[in-house]
Amino acid sequence: MILRRLTAALAAGLVALAASCAAALLLGPQPISLAAAFAGVEPDAAILFGLRLPRVLLGAMVGAGLATAGVALQALLRNPLAEPFVLGVSGGAALGGTAALAASALIGPATMLGALAGSGTSVALGASVGAAASTALVFALGRIGGKLVPEAALLVGVVFNAFAAGVITVVKVMVPPEDAARLLYWLMGAVGYADPGTLVAGAVLLGLAVTVLVALSAQLNLLSLGDDEAASLGVEVGRSRGAVFLAASLATGAAVALAGLVGFVGLIVPHLLRRLFGPDHRVLLPASALFGAAFLVLADAAARLAFLPLGSEPPVGALTALLGGPLFLWLLRRSDRSA
């Protein structure tokens, strides 16, 4: 039964991913010929393989990471409104990455230490540490009388986001203008043009995080019943939760390091999939990875194409927020009614 549903979900996910990748590879501001690109004719080959393909890969990785992190956080918090962006985890990651960039700018990017601090690797590391720290904060402060209260945790997340945004604004004022521009571009939430090294580092990090989360998906089913119930069913609650928590932080940190603040992917995708395939995390998690990838690749292509007449492209984060904000409010109203 589960196997059949899993197969169906994965097959559908692969089809969706293939379709959105094809769309993103074929469509763009510059019309290209596939035959010419494969024959190595420039600029078609450079546009297809040098620009669109790396961008599709980046979007797919970030989407998969954010969607699975969303599912994991929703299970941990036992609330469908939990999401890396809303919970402040993305904000913490942005703060961590900003700290690394600012350290580089203030030490002096020409020095070895400064260059090291400003490298993609240390930004990703800073973002992951920031994500883990903010997750810890949200889960620690979201307790009332020793019990995790989802609404309290969400509120802590929202407040922490505002705090992180304030700190980042202050940092932007402190660093030299060219570094502020770099920071701004990164935080906009754009799937841009990371170099191959960063792409590979991101793939390794996100692959690890998603694998851990998929491996823990059966335990997530039990954890989402409640701590006592999970413990009575033989789950080592503290340890499993710690592992899920770290993997979700790592996925969010890596995603933010690669693409900045892209919000609501972890809300939109799992919500859609729950309606299609039900709440079983063994299906939901791997499906979220595939559909999350498909969703962000498609959203990025849409952002790229929708504003073509204006000669500009909004960052994909604006598009996901446009879709995710109303969905969040709708979910909030609905959970209000059921309570």
Binding site: G28, P29, Q30, A37, F38, A39, G40, E42, P43, A45, A46, I47, F49, G50, L51, R52, S104, P109, A110, G114, A115, L116, G118, S119, T121, A124, L125, S128, V129, A132, A133, V173, P177, E178, D179, A180, A181, R182, L183, L184, Y185, G192, Y193, A194, D195, P196, G197, V200, A201, A203, V204, L205, L208, G242, L246, L250, G253, G311, S312, E313
Partner: protein, 318 residues
């Protein structure tokens, strides 16, 4: 615990990086140049820098990624070689050219589609990932940090040489150099006025030390009331009132002229000692330099009326 888990994948990635990059490049058709590994901080901050493969001696298809660089190409008499400009370019000479995006978001796809053999980039952190990708894909990019007046002169020479017309570059640079010297001479005859250069009014953004308008103002013989470390500070109105400038130069040309009354708390604004600039020349570090200096000096001269001169403290000559 957190640190350990977070660090491990990085180590693994470093080891597998070469393999994976090779795998990625293997997807590319044969004969393509491999991606160039960029140095740690390749955003040039002081010196012009070439990115990507070497440019031809006389590039025929040039894209400019900044209006001030477009101005330079036009001033060099080489506008015929431009095939693309930014969406902020307003010069009539390039009106019909394709737009390739803005400062922060040049579209690499549109740039490559125009098959350029030279891209001129006003080095800036925001567009760096896109520009580096353009260079990695085989387009020569000339990155020019242009902040101060010496940078403008150097950019004229470097762009002239890059276009295979070093004589024109040299001529343009010496013209601008002569204008700077003439302005300095004229400045000696002007009484030193303390000036507030308003770039934006809501919020109040002013030109501080290290910005291009500040450099022009110094040459023109004015004294910037704004001190401190930031080139484009968001300035407190209170501070502006306390600074009590002799003259306010309104360079916020995209905002309505009468909105300067919002700053009426500044005595100079209240007394009408405001000169509104007709265009954004003082903000465009390029061949408009002589005209920009002339604008500022005429602004400084406009306040020579004796009634206004009385209360103004004469600055120390520099």
């Amino acid at each position: 615990m957190i640190r350990k888990t977070a660090i491990r994948p990085f180590r693994a990635s470093r080891a597998s990086r070469v393999v994976a990059v090779a795998a990625l490049l293997a997807c590319l058709p044969a004969g393509r140049t491999a991606a160039v590994e960029a140095p740690a901080d390749p955003i040039p901050r002081t010196q012009p820098l070439w990115l990507g493969p070497p440019a031809p001696a006389r590039p025929a298809r040039v894209i400019s990624l900044a209006p001030s660089l477009t101005d330079t190409v036009i001033a060099l008499g080489e506008v015929g070689r431009l095939v693309g400009v930014t969406r902020y370019d307003t010069s009539p000479e390039v009106k019909s050219l394709p737009r390739v995006g803005g400062f922060l978001d040049p579209s690499p796809e549109v740039v490559l589609g125009l098959r350029p053999d030279l891209v001129l980039w006003l080095a800036d952190g925001g567009a760096f990932p896109a520009v580096r990708r353009i260079a990695d894909l085989g387009v020569p990019v000339l990155a020019l940090p242009v902040v101060g007046v010496p940078d403008v002169l150097r950019a004229a020479r470097v762009i002239g040489a890059a276009l295979g017309n070093p004589a024109a570059g040299e001529r343009l640079a010496s013209e601008m150099d002569a204008a700077v010297r003439a302005a300095e001479l004229a400045a000696a005859a002007l009484p030193r006025r303390r000036v507030l250069l308003v770039i934006g009014r809501d919020p109040l953004v002013v030109a501080g030390p290290g910005s291009y308008p500040d450099a022009l103002l110094r040459i023109a013989g004015g004294e910037n009331v704004v001190t401190g470390g930031r080139p484009w500070p968001i300035y407190s109105l209170e501070k502006a009132v306390a600074d009590d400038p002799d003259l306010v130069v309104d360079a916020a040309v995209n905002e309505p002229a009468d909105a300067i009354q919002r700053l009426a708390a500044i005595p100079a604004v209240k007394a009408g000692r405001v000169v509104r600039l007709p265009d954004d020349r003082v903000l465009r570090p390029g061949p408009q330099l002589p005209a920009a200096l002339a604008q500022l000096q005429s602004a400084l001269r406009s306040e020579l009326r004796p009634a206004l001169r009385g209360g103004a403290p004469a600055g120390e000559p520099r």
